[in-house]
């Protein structure tokens, strides 16, 4: 059976045969970079198409259906259009920051890709503080948004950026704490170990109620962190026209757009890794036949399936709920999510100490 792990080992082996260590590392870096960018492009196109289809069906429409079968090339055509468009920079804008902001946002999104385990033993960088790294880097994307909003010289953009700043900074907390509940269970920050610890069952199943609560809070916080409806206050279409990217056009706008979807993918991948066992197949107790059948499905499919499911849930939120107001958004965080997740963490620690989770 071909798996991503084997391909990676093969390439690695072949390179080691032909080159020395330094050159191998360099070539591997380039390959990973190219791979990451290709994944980005594919994800962006795929997720946008998926979002449009999900939205369309919920809104009793058909969605894209003109370019290619079921309209799957619609997003490629849109990208082409965006590339051809003129990238305007307004006169009143701070030119350097204005052009830097979308790049920064996309770089941040790219960085978080590093510790994610896409399949069994297939990871760009299995850093031993993986979870910490993810939460540290992901909070940097707010800088890009603030930069975009401030440098546009547009009041709508500024308001959107300020909202986004307040929002992401506060939702980092509950997202971090709900991640911490799982870290307490596993006793490790390393992504590969967290996945390994779920071999006997996913945390959402064997972590008792606190894990479920942590999962729900994580999903809510993840939605907020990615600026998705119902927390899309930074964009707030009906209030601030387009929020922080009001002044962006062409490819610069596309970068923001792409970053949004990459961020969704990443937070959902983290969620899948922490709560749904990453690439671990679904096992039910001692039903051997079922477990074997599940093992037969490649680990990358498991990972992607779980991530896509979470992405679908987030899209489902977006196309169902109205937007919160800015003060309600902060109320939700400080009055509900944060206290609940703190208590939840406490309960989880007790569970972990008592060893009920094993």
């Amino acid at each position: 059976m071909i798996s991503l792990e084997k391909i990676a080992t093969l390439i690695d082996g072949w390179l080691h045969q032909h080159f020395n260590d330094v050159i191998t590392l360099l070539i591997e870096c380039v390959l990973v970079g190219v791979g990451a960018i290709a994944l980005f492009a594919l994800l962006g196109l795929g997720l946008v198409w998926m979002e449009r289809k999900v939205a369309a069906l919920m809104q009793i429409r058909m969605g894209p259906n003109r370019v290619g079968p079921k309209g799957i090339f619609q997003t490629s055509a849109d990208t082409l259009k965006l590339i051809m468009k003129e990238g305007l920079t307004p006169d009143g804008a701070d030119k350097l920051l204005f052009n830097l902001a979308p790049v920064l946002v996309i770089i941040v999104a790219m960085l978080i890709l590093a510790p994610i385990a896409f399949a069994k033993n297939f990871q760009i960088w299995d850093i031993n503080i993986g979870v910490l790294y993810v939460s540290a880097v992901s909070s940097m994307s707010v800088i890009g948004i603030l930069m975009a909003g401030w440098s546009s010289g547009n009041k709508y953009a500024l308001l959107g950026a300020m909202r986004s700043g307040a929002q992401i900074v506060s939702y980092e907390l509950s997202a971090g704490i709900s991640v911490l509940t799982i870290v307490v269970l596993t006793g490790s920050l390393q992504i590969s170990e967290i996945v390994q610890s779920q071999q006997t069952g996913w945390w959402i199943f064997k972590g008792h109620i606190p894990a479920i609560i942590a999962f729900v809070i994580f999903i809510i916080a993840a939605t907020a962190e990615t600026n998705r409806a119902p927390f899309d206050l930074a964009e707030a279409e009906s209030e601030l026209t387009a929020g922080f990217h009001t002044e962006y056009s062409g490819m610069k706008f596309a970068l923001f757009f792409l970053a949004e979807y990459i961020n969704i993918f990443i937070v959902c991948a983290i969620g899948a890794t922490l709560f749904l066992g990453g690439w671990m197949p679904l096992h039910i107790g001692n039903v051997q036949a079922f477990n074997h059948a599940m093992d037969y499905i490649p680990s990358s499919i498991w990972f992607l399936g779980k991530t896509l499911f979470l992405i679908f849930v987030i899209m489902w939120f977006r196309w169902t709920f109205p937007r919160l107001r800015v003060d309600q958004l902060l109320n939700l965080e400080w009055k509900y999510l944060l206290p609940i997740s703190l208590v939840n963490l406490l309960v989880m620690t007790v569970i972990a100490i008592l060893g009920w989770h094993l």
Binding site: Y156, S238, E239, T320, R323
Partner: protein, 382 residues
């Protein structure tokens, strides 16, 4: 004649700015997703808090009042479809009524029934569209499409009978232009049944939603006294507990024979106005249900002269549109065209209360409050 510059005062409502840059001035509109048209609001903000709102109108002012002065009493009705295009039947109805009042024409029973049914269907369609747009203003896109599906069914019924979907021009002085389409009754009955189910769906999707409730509760407060003082009518005033349904108070056509309730809510906030409209849809469905099986046979149009001449005098007719009280004031000099015509449009007065309603609240509240005003800009601009 005095010069303009003398009378351009500084607006007293804007508090003097403490320092340069203390307040942020934002133009919402004329192109903005939440204004549903070309409304231009100049908002003064302190952070996210609204200090003052100043509407700038006129982007689609077509001077309908002036145009009507050169149109005959048959012709001017069609223009009024273009004022409040979501309740064009009711606008046309008001004009037909005022001309009939002047001519002292007795409208046949059948025509009265048809007119009332059409009015109520228009009201349902208008409130449906409003519901979708309201949810979209608050960031939920899906209800918009659901609302349009429902409205589409009404539009199709209209199209079949009146020959147009939006600007019907179906009412003529003395009755209606053509008789009902043979399918009309059957289709309308099917529509009513479907609508009750749809309304339950709407409640599930939007009304009960905790986010929605929180966005609407306590937002855009308008007390009963202020509602009267600002001349608010329709669901806006009824959400503040002011009884102002023209259909009940000054009944026209056959409204005094019908069983329906005037919806009053005492919440004074956006949620109250929202509830008024949703309940009004149910009342309108009830009215149509009462009438649809009992349309009397007979003429659908009274005999009128080819050239209509209103006697010298003044005529005023008010009707209840989906947005509130529409008044048509005609001053006639005895000729074939009105000497002066004034449309007292509900949206214009309702808009004037906006500043009072949202002062001191957040930008998000402005959208929620403006949405429940159900502004149709051509109605305001005329």
């Amino acid at each position: 004649m005095f010069r303009q510059t003398e009378i351009i005062n500084q607006p007293s409502t804007i508090p003097p700015s403490k320092e340069e840059g203390e307040y942020l001035t934002i133009n919402v509109g004329p192109q903005h997703p939440a204004t549903h048209g070309v409304l231009h609001l100049v908002i003064t903000l302190s952070g996210e808090t609204i200090i003052n709102i100043e509407p700038h109108l006129g982007y689609i002012h077509r001077s309908i009042e002036k145009m009507c002065e050169s149109l005959s009493y048959r012709q001017f009705i069609y223009v009024t479809s273009r004022m409040d295009y979501l309740s064009s039947h009711i606008n046309n109805h008001a004009c037909a009524l005022v001309v009939e009042k002047g001519l002292q024409v007795e409208v046949p029973q059948r025509a009265q029934y048809i007119r009332v049914i059409m009015d109520e269907l228009t009201r349902i369609a208008s409130h449906s569209l409003w519901w979708g747009a309201m949810a979209m203003d608050l960031g939920a896109f899906t209800p918009f499409f659901h609302a349009f599906r429902e409205r589409e069914a009404i539009n199709e019924i209209m199209e079949e009978t009146c020959g147009a979907r939006l600007t019907m021009n179906y009412m003529v002085p003395g009755g209606v232009m053509v008789d009902l389409h043979p399918n009309f009754q059957q289709k309308t009955k099917a529509l009513i049944q479907a609508y009750y189910n749809r309304l339950d769906e709407w409640d599930e999707l939007v009304t009960g939603n905790i986010i929605f409730q929180n966005r609407m509760k306590g937002v855009g407060m308008l007390s009963a006294e202020n509602a009267i003082s600002y001349g608010c009518t329709g669901p806006v005033a009824r959400g503040s507990g002011v009884s102002c349904d023209v259909r009940k108070i000054y009944p026209y056509e056959i409204y005094n024979q019908l069983q329906f309730d005037e919806i009053l809510e005492t919440g004074c906030d956006s949620l109250a106005r929202y509830n008024v409209r949703l309940k009004e849809i149910r009342q309108s469905l009830k009215i149509v249900e009462q009438l649809i099986d009992n349309i009397p046979e007979g003429e659908f149009q009274a005999k009128t002269k080819a050239v209509l001449k209103l006697p010298k005098g003044e005529f005023y007719q008010r009707v209840e549109t989906a947005r509130g009280e529409l008044g048509v004031y005609i001053v006639s000099e005895g000729g074939t065209t009105p000497y002066r015509i004034k449309f007292r449009s509900p949206g214009f007065s309702n808009l004037s209360a906006l500043n009072h309603m949202v002062k001191g609240s957040k930008i998000g509240d402005l959208i929620a409050a403006m949405g429940t005003l159900d502004l149709v800009i051509p109605d305001i601009d005329r």
